[in-house]
């Protein structure tokens, strides 16, 4: 281990330096970088979270912005300058109406099971739809629901937040209003026994019997 590195174990660089480091790392990466990653790459004792706050302020109103994406951070061009970037625009595969709606339902209702998506849309979800959203890395499998059948759930990803410029899933447009109006609830049909989840996958429950190691 070199001298400088040993030194840094005891003394963190000044905040101004830390800010420069965070700036350099965020600039170098196309993907959002987590605070944990920043911490791992900066000298010991650094406080990237604080440095990020300074940096964010510094870029306020500039051509590029320091933005939060879930628990990670990235630099992105300011939204009002998009018109300059025609050259950089990537042709995005047009999503079908079914895919767009499914995506919205996952985002607003997450974690949500396939049966719930179908119940909300009133039609069955085609294979290609979920497939496409997973391939875009906008949704992923979440935790299993602890209901009969233990169905898998879907949640949105960091890539989703990054793509739509959301700090986190709570910032989804109109989320509060929808929740207040009770429209994010999963109300069963009156008098109906909830058997949708049961049907979905009868054979899964014993699939993932926890191993002794895991439970220790």
């Amino acid at each position: 281990m070199s001298d400088t590195q040993e030194e840094s174990l005891f003394e963190a660089p000044p905040m101004g330096e830390q800010e420069r480091m965070v700036e350099a790392i965020l600039f170098a990466s196309a993907e959002p970088v987590t605070v944990k990653e920043l911490m791992g790459r900066m000298p010991h004792g650094s406080d990237p979270a604080e440095a990020l706050q300074y940096l964010r302020k510094r870029y306020d109103g500039r051509g590029v912005q320091v933005v939060r994406v879930g628990d990670a951070w990235a630099i992105r061009t300011a939204g009002d300058l998009g018109f300059l970037m025609q050259k950089e625009t990537v042709e995005v595969r047009k999503l079908s109406r079914a895919a767009v709606e499914t995506l919205a339902i996952v985002a607003y209702h997450q974690p949500v099971t396939r049966a719930e998506i179908e119940e909300i849309r009133g039609v069955s979800v085609s294979r290609g739809t979920v497939d496409q959203l997973i391939e875009l890395e906008w949704i992923r499998f979440g935790r299993r629901r602890m209901t009969p059948g233990r169905p898998v759930t879907f949640v949105v990803t960091q890539d989703f937040l990054d793509h739509f410029g959301l700090e986190n899933a709570r910032d989804l447009p109109g989320l509060k209003e929808l929740r207040a109006a009770g429209l994010l609830e999963n109300r069963p049909l009156p008098g109906a026994t909830l058997d949708i989840d049961d049907e979905e996958d009868d054979d899964t429950p014993d699939m993932f019997t926890p191993s002794p190691e895991e439970e220790e």
Binding site: G79, T89, V92, I120, R121, H163, F164, G165, L189, G191
Partner: protein
């Protein structure tokens, strides 16, 4: 005469109007979607919508489709049956002896479903109207990859993992059908063998003694060798080279060389 003509014109116009509606059915994503569209014609807040009126509109729609002999998917008909049931519940005074939810409760739930679907549609539109990465705002164009260190790390995605697993688990099902040749003796092989051996079979000999070495013990190999040898024997009998006999049902089959002088 003119009246008749008049009627014709109306029915054609009617028919076309009805068809225009029906043809659109392909554009609907199921009955709930259609109901939502029909509800818009009431031009009120979805919370104040008349489910009874909506049910009637839907039933009329299905009726028209039937008249035009257009095929509706089964779920449209299921919904029609359910709405007819709902309609009767809404119209008739509640029967205290009847169990289950009241018509109002069912209607309220349908209204809720419609409102929720509409809300999700709006939310989806709002979502897609947001600035999007790679369209309205952009990531770093030149990522830093100047100094290439030797260190290699490996990566895989969850998709790779799952597809890898699926590949193994479904491998057996998709295995093309092939015979396990090393476990099978063909009749040609047996015939070639028998032709060479038959010259020495002057006396009645048990067929099983002709099984080649190494094929008598393993059951699978024994079975295939026996079948092939037996078939070969039949072939030789047909050619007049051997004779076969069997003392009783399931008794050992015996063969011997046929003396040409016997003919």
């Amino acid at each position: 005469m003119s009246e008749e003509f008049q009627e014709d014109v109306i029915s054609v116009a009617d028919r076309m109007a009805a068809e225009a509606l029906i043809v659109d059915v392909g554009a609907f994503e199921g009955p709930l979607d259609l109901l939502l569209m029909l509800s818009r014609t009431q031009k009120v807040d979805l919370r104040q919508i008349s489910i009874l009126a909506l049910a009637e509109q839907y039933l009329a729609f299905v009726e028209k489709a039937k008249q035009l002999r257009l095929e509706l998917a089964a779920d449209y008909l299921v919904m029609a049956a359910w709405l007819a049931f709902l309609k009767s519940r809404l119209l008739l005074p509640p029967d205290p002896t009847e169990e289950g939810p009241s018509g109002e409760e069912l209607a309220a739930h349908l209204a809720f479903q419609l409102e929720r679907l509409e809300a999700m549609r709006k939310a989806a539109a709002q979502l897609m109207a947001r600035d999007q990465l790679g369209r309205d705002f952009f990531a770093r164009g030149i990522t830093e990859d100047v100094q290439r260190t030797r260190k290699v790390t490996y990566t895989a995605t969850l998709l790779d993992l799952m597809q890898g697993y699926a590949r193994i688990r479904t491998k057996d099902e998709f295995r093309p059908f092939v015979m396990d040749r090393d476990q099978v003796m063909t009749m040609e092989e047996a015939l070639g063998r028998m032709r060479k051996m038959i010259g020495f079979a002057g006396d009645w000999t048990d067929l099983t003694s002709y099984l080649p070495e190494g094929w008598e013990t393993d059951p699978t190999r024994r079975r295939t060798a026996t079948a092939a040898t037996f078939a070969a024997t039949l072939e030789l009998a047909k050619e007049g080279k051997v004779e076969l006999r069997q003392g009783d049902t399931f008794a050992p089959i015996q063969i011997r060389k046929r003396d040409p002088r016997d003919v």
